[in-house]
Symmetry: C2
Subunit: 215 residues, 2 copies
């Protein structure tokens, strides 16, 4: 008997649309305030309005899209207060996730993180904002997966999703040269098993970038 490792011969249309849009939003490929239409989304993914609407509805429930009172769909434009709040949420959730991941962080994980980190440096050198955002989130997700806390990780990803378009606007204007300093602190704290240091490093890394966006 041959069990297919991917028992998914027919992914549903709305899920395909959902995943496609979600990826673009989270990785900052869509600018804040960008208007979308159901018919446009449907045409782009080659489906009718029905699954497009379901995907949009789901994304708006996660805060990845905003729907005006007249039903118009667009990527969110966040106020400074909201950005600060989301940054505080990131700090709250991700510090906890990192803390839970710490006792399970073996050497293989740390090497993976270092590998991701060096690729981030390449993305920075190439000035590729989207790749940088994606790789940065991959760094964090790789660490947090070890926390064995799926609901908490899902919430953190929801926050990333809400910040996606805004992060694009941030890293677009920010011309940085150096790889993220706090990522190296995170790795050091992981190696040393230093929980307070890890918490501080994660909090700093998460808060750092958002601060200049508010300015």
């Amino acid at each position: 008997m041959l069990l297919n490792p991917r028992p998914d011969p027919a992914p549903s249309a709305h899920d395909r649309v959902y995943r496609g849009l979600r990826g673009r939003i989270m990785h900052g490929e869509l600018a804040p305030g960008l208007p979308l239409t159901l018919r446009g989304i449907g045409a782009e993914f080659d489906v009718s309005m029905t699954p497009a609407r379901e995907a949009v509805r789901r994304l708006s429930a996660e805060g990845a899209l905003t729907i005006s009172s007249s039903g118009r769909v667009s990527t969110p434009e966040l106020s400074n207060d909201r950005i600060e709040e989301l940054a505080a949420l990131r700090a709250l959730l991700e510090v906890e996730l990192a803390s839970r991941a710490l006792p399970r962080a073996h050497i293989a994980l740390i090497e993976r993180l270092q590998s991701i980190n060096s690729r981030i440096a390449e993305d920075i050198a190439r000035q590729d904002a989207v790749a940088y955002i994606r790789r940065n989130l991959e760094f964090h997700r790789t660490l947090y997966l070890r926390a064995q806390a799926p609901a908490m990780l899902a919430m953190a990803e929801t926050v990333w999703l809400q910040l996606g378009p805004t992060m694009r606007a941030l890293y677009g204007r920010l011309r940085r040269k150096d790889p993220p300093h706090y990522h190296r602190l995170i790795i050091s704290a992981l190696k040393a098993g230093d929980e307070p240091g890890l918490r501080l490093a994660v909090r700093s890394d998460v808060t750092q970038g958002l601060r200049m966006l508010v300015a």
Copy 2:
């Protein structure tokens, strides 16, 4: 000119369904594992399948409903691990919310909380589990509204939503006689402006009930 305080003459169908289902789930009116059908929901709210599906899709995005691989909809049956994780999330978020509400908590708010608390005692005397859950959440929400942190409050409510059916199962079997002890500690800490005490009281209140559910 007479401005209507409710400028919502025509609430959309899917929103009506969403709100209706959400309230029932959050307040524990639906048992865990209860199967639902789109046609049934549509008939109950007197709409077609389309808005019913949108509401269900949105609720499943919030974790209030689970959708099987074949598309079947039901209220979630949470594992013990998931319950513990959600309790930890409640602690994390609500301690922060209470802490942010503390400096803005005036006497009028505290009186409102005491009023809600005495009604909780009545609900307990009446052995009305649904009313108890609803009032208990009202107590927490009233406090957290003062935190001026809408995104954080929304996340906390999402956790409540996921725990709704399970809380029903909990308070159904639990025959308690006394009003919640930790609510009085919360009020005391608010009066005294005691932040560490408040954080501890909220954490205890949130963790308390869930512990015996895991047993």
